[in-house]
Structure formats: C-alpha cells, structure tokens
C-alpha cells in the first residue's frame, strides 16, 4: 500500500524535478495512446519533439507560437501568485484582438508606421478593459472571479462573431465571416526575412524580465505575493487587497490583450471567428508548469508551443485530429499536479 507522509520541509529538489517528471509521464502516456490507436509511438515522438526544431524555419514557428503563450502566462503568474484566479484570459485575448483589429482597420495605404504602436496599445487597452470588468465585479460585488471571467470568455467570443459576421465584415470577402486584411502599416514588423517571427518575441522576453523584476525586486510585487500566500498577513501588513486585485487583473488583462493584438496584426492579418485558439487556457497550464516564475514560464511556453505544433504536424503527417494537443495539455497539467505532491510529501511503501 502506498502511504503519503508530510515532509518536515518542502523538497527543493522536487520542486525543480517535478515538472520534468510530469513531462516524462505525459510523454509515456502519449506514446501508449499512440500505440492504442495503431500508430507508431516513436514516429509520434519524432513529430512532437524533433520536427518542430529541425529547421531554422521550424524554430521560428516554434518561437512565434510561444510568444502569445508566454505573454499570457506571465500575466497569469502575477494573478495566480496574488490568489486571483483569472480563468478568462482567453476572453481578454479576444478583446485585445478586437480592439487591435478595430484600430488596424482604420489604417489606410498611406498610414505611418506609428499605426503599429497604436494597434498594440489598443490591444493592451482592450484586454485591460475586459479584465477590469471582472475586477470591478469582484471588487464591488464580491462576485467570484473564476466564474465571471469565464462567462466573459463566452461573451467575448459572441462579440467577435457579431462583429465579424456583421459590421466589420469585408465587403469584398465573398461573404466569408472575416474582416479585410490589414494594411501593411498596421502589421507587426517581422524580425528577419524567411520567417514569420516578429517583434512580439523580443517584446515578450523583455516583459518576462520586467515581470521578474516586479515580482521579486519591488515592494508592490512582494505585496501581491503576500496577498496570495497569506491573506491575513497581507491585511496585517496593510497591503491593500483591492489594489492587489486590480493590479493582478489589469496586468494579466493587458498582457493577454497584447498577445491578442500581436496574433491578429501578426500571423493572422485579419479578424476571423477563429481568433480564439485556446491560448488563454493553454497559458494556464504554461503558468503552472513554469512554476509561476518568469524563467520557468519561458521554458514551459516553448514546451507548450511544441505541443501545439506537434499537434498540427500530427494532423497533417499522421492523420490525427488536431485536438490531440488538448489531450496532451490536460495530461501535462494533471501529471504536474500529481508530481507536485512529491514536493510536500514523501511516498512510502508500507502498511
């Protein structure tokens, strides 16, 4: 019989090893899944872990997909460390995309390059407004932010649908639900030719450093974390829980909105009903696997991006439905939660 025994002190070794073990478990279960479905597990491994990094172009795609995951997860790290459970990052992403898209549509063929800045700022603002709605409802009415932010995701998606099927539909688009493609002036500049990688990546990395500094080197970041670790101590210290709530949600909303703007004015180039790609939810997993720490999140964003690209490749090369990505994401989070018990507990064989 397995027994769990509380450790006297949480194990430092396991807090680093646990995500790795979780990844290993996920891979094992994944391979078993492949075998069950009659596909070669080694080929599956190759498609998920080797193909995405085989060529410079592939690496570029990997980094491109990791960017929104990284951005959103950074914001969620601030949120979750503050004990604010923002589950609606997907909705904030969509609103950021909408706001950015709306501004981008204002561009003409002669607009200046500053449009890009406007587009990005609009994205940040859009995400902040949507997250601010959740913050306000919790601040004023004590409404649970998990459910409110989640409901707002559905609302945001419907809003997108309305605009894209209606007022913002491209009149020259053969009645497809999509806006016109954005003018070049409003598109996010690429980093080099031959890759779709754009300035979103350096922005995201800079923000990762910024968030690290904020969380671990400023009093405000400290106050946010105390609010999450020991709310009574935060109250004792006089750290305002209202302020913590608003900071957490506005930061994560802004980052999610920025990610939406980068997606829509970057690789997508227009607004379509397919803007919500589940990044807001995947970022939750990225945040946890990355231990809510900016450095860990950079790494886990790369990992999650690999899952996404692997899923797309699995579809085109192995005939799997793309949704296998979702299975792996869920498995990874489950395994992580299970493996994390090893940090606090020792597992023993015994009576």
């Amino acid at each position: 019989m397995l027994r769990v025994e509380l450790r006297a002190q949480p194990s430092k070794v396991w807090s680093y090893a646990s995500p790795l073990l979780a990844l290993a478990l996920t891979v094992l279960i994944g391979m078993a899944l492949f075998m069950l479905l009659g596909k070669d597990p080694l080929r599956g491994l190759q498609v998920f872990f080797w193909e995405p990094i085989r060529t410079p172009y592939a690496i570029g795609e990997l980094l491109l997909k990791a960017t929104p995951l990284l951005l959103i997860a950074l914001g969620l790290a601030v949120c979750f460390r503050s004990n604010v459970w923002n589950i609606g990052a997907e909705g904030q992403f969509v609103l950021g995309a909408l706001a950015a898209g709306g501004v981008a549509l204002l561009a003409g063929p002669d607009s200046g390059r500053w449009m890009v800045l406007a587009v990005l700022l609009a994205g940040v603002a859009g995400g902040m407004v949507w997250a601010g709605l959740t913050a306000w409802l919790r601040d004023r009415f004590h409404a649970n932010e998990i459910l409110v932010s989640l409901m707002l995701v559905y609302v945001a998606i419907q809003l997108l649908g309305f605009l894209v099927y209606g007022p913002w539909k491209d009149p020259l688009g053969y009645n497809f639900p999509q806006t016109k493609t954005f003018e070049a002036a409003a598109r996010i500049p690429r980093l080099f030719d031959g890759s779709r990688l754009n300035i979103g990546l350096p922005i995201a990395l800079a923000l990762a450093a910024g968030i690290w500094l904020y969380l671990f080197r400023t009093l405000s970041g400290f106050a946010q974390q105390v609010g999450g670790l020991a709310p009574a101590a935060a109250r004792f210290a006089g750290f305002s829980s209202r302020r913590a709530l608003w900071i957490a949600l506005l930061v994560s909303g802004g980052l999610a909105g920025l990610a939406g703007a980068l997606e829509v004015a970057g690789p997508l180039g227009q607004l379509t009903p397919y803007v919500p790609a589940g990044y807001g939810f995947a970022a939750i997993i990225v945040a946890f696997v990355g231990r809510l720490h900016p450095v860990g999140i950079v790494l886990s964003a790369l990992l999650m991006s690999m899952f996404y690209i692997g899923g797309e490749l699995a579809q085109s090369r192995l005939g799997f439905p793309k949704s296998i990505t979702g299975v792996f994401q869920g498995l990874l989070l489950f395994s992580l939660l299970a493996c994390d018990t090893l940090v606090a507990y020792r597992i023993k064989w015994g009576k």
């Binding site: 009093l219 400290f222 009574a232 210290a237 006089g238």
Partner: protein
C-alpha cells in the same frame, strides 16, 4: 489493596517528521481518580491524549484498559471501550444545533428526539444549563464546552479525558466544572486532566504525571506540592524572576474613546463603548477568555479594521481611527498579533522578507527592494534576541514557536515604537523564550514605550502589567492597578460584573449584558 489500573500505558512512543512527540511514556490511572498530566506547551500531552483516544496511532508501546491490552484504532473504538474526550479546540459544528452535534458524537443508533431527551436529563443531572435546540454558533465559549462535556457524558465513560479545559473559562465557571468532575469521579469514572495551570491541578487532582519534551519526568500528588515545586518538576528549574520596576507613567499615548464597532463576522462579537488609555512607560493588560471581543478590538487598533468612528482611536493627539496599518506604524503604533504563522509572518517566506511586512526602511525609490540591507537587518535581530534560525533566509515555518515569536516581537521592538500592542505574547512558546519575551516587554516599558498586552493567561498579566482591564462580551471594565487585582475580582469581572460609572457596585454592567443577550435571542 491494589486494584487494576483503569488505564495503563507502557513505553508509548510517537514520532512526527522532525520531532519525537512522545518518548517512552508510562502512565497509570486508577479507577475513580482525577489524574493530572502536567507540562508546558509542547511537552507532548496533547499527542499522548490523541493516542489514547485513537485519533493517532503510537509507533511503539502497549496500552492496557482495565487490565486488557487494547489497540485503539479510531475514536469509535475508544468510545466503545468507554473512553471519552473533551478537546481543547472543540470539535463542534457551528451551523448545527447542540443536539445534532451531540448526535454526531454518539455511536448508538438513537433518534434525534431521543438524543434531545437524554441531553436534557444528563445536563440537569450535573447542573449544566444547555438548550439542545440552539445552533452552536450562538453559544458562548463556556456553553460550547458544556456541549462537549454532555456529549462525553452521554457515552457513559469509564475514562474521561479533558484537554486544557479551563483555558476558555472564567474562574467561576472553572469551579462549576470541578464540581461536575468530582461528582463523576465519585461515581467511579477516571479522569485524565491535561493542564499547565498549577493551582487548578493542586486543587482538583490527587495524582499527577509530569511531562517535559515528550518524556515523563516525574509523578507526584499535587495536593501535597506547592506551585514552586510543581513548577520545578515541570520546567526543570526555577522560573526566572522578573525585575519589575515601579515608575510613574508619562504622557498619554494611546487614547481609545467609546469605541463602538459591529463585528464583520456573523459569528463574532460586537464592541460597545470601549475606552482605555495607555501612557508612555506603563504596561496595561487586558484579561479575558477568548471570544469576548479581543480579536475585534485588536483589529480596530491595528488598522486591519478601519471602520471605527473618527476620534475613537488616537495616538498622542493624532486621530488614527480610520488609518491604514502602514500609517499607524508611521506614527509609532506597532502590533504583534496572536497568530504567528499566517498573520504575523508568512510561513513560506524567509525571515528577511518577513521584515517587509511591517518595516520599509530597506525599500528604495520606486519600491526597489534592497535585499542586502534587509538581510543585514534580519541578522541583527537574530543575533540580538538569540534566535535559533538557519539564517536570514530561513523560512518562518522552520522556526520553533518560541523563536519565531522572539523574531516577530524583536522586529517590532526594533522599530522603536511609541505604542506596542501585543496579543497572547507567550502562547505556545517554550518557557525560556517566554521569559525572554516578557523581559523584553518590560525593558521596552522602561525605555518609555506605552505597552498594551492582551492575554488569556492571568498569571502572565499579573506578572507584567501595571494596570489591568477585563474585556467581556465586547465591553471593557475600568482598570485596576495590579496591586489591587485579585483572581476572584478579575474572575467576577470576566462575567461582566464590574461597577459602571453611574451607580453602586457590581450590577449595571451586567444588566447591559443581559439586555444585549435578550436582544440577540429575540432576533433568532
């Protein structure tokens, strides 16, 4: 004539990660005797009781009940053997009624109505007032203990274990409890009485096992011992004598006037017209059993609750009634809460980071944290107060209760406060650290600070206070100088029986309390 002991423990050992809670413990309780288990906080008494009652299992050792070897695997088995327990922290369910609570503690297949009848008959048999239909959250702490006791009595125990039963009782209620216990013992029930209160043990018990640091260090008959000799047995040495200096208090520092506050918690206590003054260079103590509004008062003073009316809380003339904790600290008002882990310190953060909760002198422009300065400050406090810790980055949780308390108290004293408010300064702290903390408080007083101490330990308050108040049901008694304070008087005041300003001695305050209670009852 020797009789079989009701309960006999031999070589009982229990280990938890990092500590041996019980080490080779032997204990023998005769039928019909009231047997004390004496020891300081952390001596292992509670753990031992958990083993007897089946809440935990011993790692080694033998337990015999009425001569038969037994293995108690869970509380139901304990109850079927005839062992019953009244816990220190009650195992009651607030939203359920008294009868439902008792029903949950009984294993017989009784209907709820039968339980109600039995409660009423048993309660009157022992003179305990109890209404089975009331929800537990409406009961006072003393009444809740009665529920626990009746629940235990209904199982017709042969062995009744009471874990620190009087920590929540007024002196008068303690006497009533003793009457019940003596009646029980006379009927043949054995009683295990866990406590660290020397005068109670000497009054009630004829046999005593003394524990220290998980081991048994002696047996005695408490009725033949003095407080000093018991204390020596319990702590292994004479308690440190505190030098108390009489000194005229200085200017008025903390001025609380007619503080009126409704509790935020539906199960809390409202504050009514609380007034007190603390001057520089004096220690004012507030006595009272928990649940009488101490928590609410302290939150109003510390700034965790900012709803007080303007003018009700002033510091040297500055109105701080609605100020944040940060602003209060800027004016020199510092606070040590009773909960160390989770409120006074963040358990998973290091000592240096925990300094940031109440002091921002290591914080630079734009909120930049100067970690080097912070660690140096923490090192200083660790050295000055001789704290056993693994360095400035040791997580708060890794320190013992005494060491963490020394750190938290040191953190506040280090800020040179003008007013220091301390709640339960030595709760759960080992003897050495407790003495150290008390002497630090007195040193602070001598240096001119105004100190307010809230404590449930009357002995402690008598030791360090210059003046004493009593808080009962959200109201504060007038203060009495220590020299004029006796246990009987303080005990009476704990029931609300203190003279109010308008008239003769001893009644109007009580009327106020009764009126308040009737009003809440009427609201249902």
């Amino acid at each position: 004539m020797s009789s079989t002991p009701r309960l006999e423990l031999s070589a009982i050992t229990k280990r938890y990660p990092g500590v041996v809670a019980n080490d080779n413990v032997a204990l023998s309780v005769e039928p019909g005797s009231i047997h004390a288990v004496l020891g300081e906080n952390g001596a292992g008494k509670s753990t031992l009781m958990k083993l007897i009652y089946g809440v935990a299992k011993p790692d080694a050792g033998v337990m015999r009940f009425n001569g038969q070897q037994v293995q108690v695997r869970n509380p139901q088995e304990a109850r079927s053997l005839g062992i019953s327990m009244v816990f220190q922290h009650f195992s009651l369910f607030d939203t359920l009624t008294v009868a439902e609570n008792v029903w949950l503690g009984l294993d017989k297949q009784l209907s709820l109505r039968e339980v109600v009848e039995r409660i009423e008959s048993k309660a009157s048999e022992y003179g305990l007032e109890l209404d089975p239909r009331r929800p537990v959250h409406t009961l006072s702490v003393g009444e809740r203990q009665r529920v626990e006791i009746v629940r235990a009595l209904l199982t017709r125990p042969q062995l009744l274990i009471l874990d620190e039963p009087t920590s929540v009782l007024t002196p008068q209620a303690v006497e009533s409890l003793f009457v019940v216990l003596r009646q029980l013992a006379a009927e043949g029930c054995s009683i295990l009485y866990i406590s660290h209160k020397l005068h109670e043990i000497r009054e009630l018990c004829r046999a005593c096992t003394v524990m220290r640091a998980g081991r048994v260090v002696g047996h005695c008959d408490p009725s033949r011992e003095t407080n000093a000799s018991l204390s020596r047995l319990m702590m292994g040495s004479e308690p440190e004598l505190l030098r108390a200096r009489d000194q005229a208090p200085g200017e008025l520092m903390l001025d609380v006037r007619e503080l009126q506050l409704a509790s935020e918690d539906p199960f809390g206590t409202d504050l009514h017209g609380i007034s007190l003054q603390v001057r520089a260079g004096e220690v004012v103590g507030i006595a009272g059993v928990s649940g009488n509004g101490q928590g609410e008062l302290l939150c109003a003073l510390s700034g965790e609750d900012r709803r007080a009316a303007p003018g009700s809380v002033q510091l040297a003339g500055v109105d701080l009634s609605q100020a944040s904790p940060g602003l209060r600290r800027k004016h020199g008002l510092h606070f040590v809460p009773e909960e160390r882990l989770g409120r006074g310190a963040v358990p998973t953060l290091g000592l240096a980071h925990n300094l940031l909760l109440t002091r921002h002198d290591a914080v630079g422009p734009l909120g930049w944290l100067r970690l080097g300065v912070l660690r140096a400050q923490a090192d200083e406090i660790i050295a000055r107060y001789k704290i056993k810790a693994g360095g400035p980055d040791a997580v708060a949780r890794s320190l013992s209760g005494g060491n963490l308390q020394k750190f938290i108290v040191g953190r506040e004293i280090d800020c040179n406060p003008r007013v220091l408010i301390v709640s339960q300064p030595t709760w759960g702290v080992d003897v050495g650290a407790a003495a150290h903390i008390r002497s630090e408080i007195l040193a602070l007083r001598d240096a001119g600070c105004a100190v307010l101490v809230v404590s449930e330990e009357l002995d402690e308050l008598f030791e360090i206070s210059d003046r004493l108040h009593v808080i009962a049901d959200g109201r504060l008694s007038p203060s009495v100088p220590r020299a004029e304070a006796t246990v009987e008087r303080i005990g009476a005041w704990m029931s609300g029986l203190w003279p109010s300003e308008s008239s003769q001695a001893e009644q109007p305050a009580r009327q106020g309390l009764n009126a308040a209670r009737e009003a809440t009852d009427a609201q249902g």
